[in-house]
């Protein structure tokens, strides 16, 4: 495969002025990342600061209700409440060892912004967070957390005022501040090397989950592994170490938005076409003329018109299945998991849980391992509005 490509997808479609920092990052991945100094410190941080390994949890009540064995990989138990911290501590430490002073990030749901801010505070760096103006309102609790921990937050008023525009603005800022600043990209998307780098930090999810599941199930593998897909970082982390296990069905759940015909979704694999955005060739929601269409999901972290290139590839070769869940189905799962198991999932993760609920008929008797990518405290305000 061509460097930086997953089949036909990936690449480095960015202005030349961003090539030097991307090349610098790629070199750091080859030299600093494998070093003992990095690996030892990173392992210690994951244990002491994140609380890894995260648990896997069997859901007795929902399993009985649905007629299947439902297991959750509990990334919601991580410090700061989502899988995002695995990546930000990794990139943060790498950036620190590269001599950078500032961590720059975009955020949709705010979880990546919070996780970047935590990393910056821990590593004595400065955090600068770009967030769509719509998301600043939708995810106020996370904005407050970031402020408390010292981040500079910039509300993005351009375009659709969501994650896509936050990425545009953060890329512009990185252009200007590349000497002092590392762009701590939040998902397994963007120009090479980000999709690979982010996967490297998130694959711990499936490394742990695979061992934990087998230890609890007499060495058997799960039948189905499910994760929600925004940019695709929790999903690629959850899939990676199961990819060689051909008996394991991998399911990525995209957001269908309201699900009404003609309305915006956040499902580029299911509803999109091939194109180029944010440095990568991938599947996109776009017009026939190549203008990027606005996306929509009740879950801000999924509200993105593109997807990481490795997912486009896994779809193209048929190794993973991608399907959609709409807002109402996700909200239902949000309530059901809360009521039946005492676990409040993020609205993003609720899409993955909803897959098990909505497909229970064809999953009878199967073991289903869902990545619970984050916790739902941040979403209580959204729920107040819709309940």
């Amino acid at each position: 495969m061509r460097k930086g490509y997953f089949g036909d997808f990936g690449g480095q479609f960015i202005p030349e002025l961003l090539m030097p920092p991307l090349i610098e990052l790629e070199e750091a991945m080859e030299t600093i990342l494998p070093s003992e100094a990095f690996q030892t410190r990173f392992a210690a941080m994951l244990k002491e600061n994140v609380g890894r390994p995260s648990a896997i949890t069997y859901c007795p009540n929902l399993s009985k209700d649905l007629g299947l064995d439902l297991w959750l990989k509990r990334e919601d138990l991580n410090h700061s409440g989502a899988h995002k911290i695995n990546n930000t501590l990794g990139q943060g430490l790498l950036a620190k060892m590269m001599g950078k002073k500032v961590l720059l990030a975009e955020t949709g749901a705010g979880m990546h912004g919070v996780a970047t801010t935590v990393a910056a505070a821990m590593l004595d760096m400065k955090a600068v967070i770009y967030m769509g103006a719509t998301d600043v309102i939708r995810q106020a609790p996370n904005v407050n957390r970031m402020r408390l921990m010292g981040a500079e937050i910039i509300a993005v008023e351009s375009g659709t005022k969501t994650l896509k525009d936050a990425i545009n603005e953060a890329l512009r800022r990185w252009l200007a501040d590349q000497e002092t600043t590392h762009y701590c990209f939040g998902t397994a998307a963007g120009p090479h090397p980000f999709p690979t780098l982010v996967r490297e930090f998130q694959q711990i999810i499936s490394k742990e989950a695979r061992e934990q599941f087998m230890a609890r199930n007499q060495g058997k593998l799960p039948d189905v592994v499910v994760a929600c897909v925004g940019g695709g970082s929790n999903a690629i982390g959850m899939f990676h170490n199961f990819v060689p296990d051909e008996s394991v069905k991998l399911v990525g759940v995209e957001a269908a938005g309201t699900g009404e015909p003609g309305c915006y979704s956040s499902a580029p694999i299911d509803h999109g076409t091939e194109g180029v955005l944010h440095g990568m060739k991938t599947k996109l929601l776009q017009t026939p003329e190549g203008q990027i269409e606005p996306s929509h999901s009740v879950a801000p972290g999924l509200d993105y018109p593109g997807v990481g290139p490795e997912h486009a590839y896994l779809d193209a070769i048929g190794r993973a299945d991608y399907t959609t869940i709409n807002d109402a189905q996700a909200i239902n799962a949000f309530k059901v998991l809360s009521r039946r198991e005492g676990i409040i999932p993020a609205l993003e993760s609720s899409h993955a849980v909803a897959y098990a609920i909505e497909n229970k008929d064809k999953l009878q008797g199967k073991s289903v391992l869902v990545c619970l990518s984050g916790r739902g405290d941040k979403d209580l305000g959204i729920l107040d509005e819709i309940m």
Binding site: F13, I14, E16, S158, D165, L171, G290, I292
Partner: protein
Amino acid sequence: MNAMQRKIEEARGKGKVGLIPFLPAGFPDRERFWKELEELDAAGASVIEIGMPFSDPVADGPVVEKASLRCLADGVNLAWILTELRKRKGQFNAALLLMGYLNPVYQYGLDRFAEDCEAAGVSGLIIADMPHEESRFVRDAVEPHGIALVPLIGLNTSKERMKLYADGAQGFCYFVSVLGTTGQRDALSARIKEKLAEAREVFDIPIALGFGIKHPDQLTQFDGLLDAAVFGSALISHIESGRSSDSFMEPWK
């Protein structure tokens, strides 16, 4: 020789810097855009850079972004740009350059794009989100149609990377004056001089300086190091304030 290079060298023959004004296609509206082009042409532009509006222009600052989004909202697309240009083929003295982002061109179809550009009299192309590493397929598609893919380099481009871009390059080399997006800046970096001198050694085509330029006085410090100047945001702001392209070009003449 590519028409863009010929026009810039013509200006140099008269002891002048080549002028490269930039306007997004369809700005300030679809009718007036063609009037502005005529004025820029009559005022002595060497190359006219026409923006192909894109929804997510990451290399552009707020002025160009806002103007481009307005054109998109007005229904500007590549088919319109190329059809209208074709109707006016041969009417401009300046060489024509299209500037934009890869995705709209990719969706239009590269081969069809190259053919339609040739038919419309376009002789240059800038794709802002395409570094050397990804550029081969675009160059291969457009060069047989006489269209040069203009290299974009900047303050952080090493001499090594300049050489990658210089290999077989036609038209002119676009030197970006800032580490950042398009938009006016009051002061230009002191490092520009040194990097321009490096580019001079590497490129055997003309060199244009762009991003942040609003007045000819800014350029006197680079005498001998550049052949042309690109201005976009300053021109857009000028037109937005109700003045004409012609009056913008006045101090440059």
